[in-house]
C-alpha cells in the first residue's frame, strides 16, 4: 500500500501549476520551454499513478509517447529559439516584433 490516489493527484497538480507559472510569468524563451517540460512531466506522473490505480498498462504506454513528444518539442523548440536569437540577438519574446 503506497498512498491514496488523491495525494498523487494533488502533488502532480501542484507540479503542473509550477510549470504553468514558469511558462507564463518568466520572460526568457528558454525558461518558457522549461516550464512546458515541467508540465509534461507532471502529466506523466499522473499517467503512471493511474496505471497503478487501475492495474492496467495503458497509462504507462502513454507515458512513453509523452517522452517521445517532449523530446521532439524540445529539439524543434530550441532550434526555433536559436533561429530567433540569430535574427534579433535576444531571448526576450517582447523583442520579437519584426514582421519580415
Amino acid at each position: 500500500m503506497i498512498v491514496p490516489f488523491s495525494h498523487v493527484l494533488f502533488f502532480a497538480g501542484i507540479l503542473f501549476l509550477m510549470g504553468m507559472f514558469c511558462a507564463v510569468a518568466r520572460r526568457n524563451l528558454i525558461m518558457i520551454v522549461l516550464g512546458v517540460e515541467i508540465m509534461l512531466n507532471a502529466a506523466a506522473i499522473i499517467f503512471v499513478a493511474a496505471a497503478l490505480r487501475w492495474q492496467h498498462l495503458e497509462g504507462q504506454v502513454f507515458v512513453l509517447f509523452i517522452l517521445a513528444v517532449a523530446a521532439t518539442e524540445v529539439s524543434v523548440g530550441l532550434a526555433l529559439i536559436v533561429y530567433g536569437y540569430r535574427r534579433t540577438g535576444s531571448f526576450d519574446p517582447g523583442t520579437y516584433n519584426l514582421l519580415k
Binding site: 526568457n28 523530446a71 530550441l78
Partner: protein, 172 residues
Amino acid sequence: MTIYSVIFYILALVILASTGLAITRRNLVHAVVYLVFSFFGSAMLFYLFGAPLLAVLEVIIYAGAIMILFLFIIMMVKMDSIHERQYPLNQLLPAALMGVLYLVLGALLVSTDPNSKVTLAVAMALPQEFAKYLFERHWLSIEIVSLLLLIALVGALHLGRRKEKEGSAKIP
C-alpha cells in the same frame, strides 16, 4: 504508514522543492541543474509506482538528453540578463484570483471523487510485459512516433542551418 508512503512523501517534497527553486532562478544553468534533480526524483517515483522501464527512460531521455540539450544552448549563446517582468497590481490580482479559484475547484474535484480514495497497491510491470503489450497493441503508434522524431530531426537541421547570403540575418 508503510515504508512506501514515507518514500513517496520524501520524493514529493524533494521534487517540489527542486522544481520551485528551478523556476525562480535567474541563472539558467542553476535552473537546469535543479531541474535535473527534479527529474531524477520523478524517475524514482516511476520506479515506486511499478514502472522500471519508464524510470530508466526518464533518466536517459529527460535528465540525460533534454536537459543536456538545454545546457548546450545556454552555453552556446551569450546570455545577456533579461530584466524580468515586475508584476503590476492590476495584473497580479486577477491572476491570483484565478489561481485560487482553480486550486479550490481542483481540490474539490479530487476530494469528492470516490475513485481517488483508493489506496495504490504495490505492483510492478516487468519490462518484458510492458514491451509485449506495447508492440502487440500499439505498434502503429510506435511507427507514427518514430516518423515524428525523424521529422523533428529534419526540421531542427533545417532551422539550425546558417544562411550564407542574407543581409538581414545577424550571425553572432
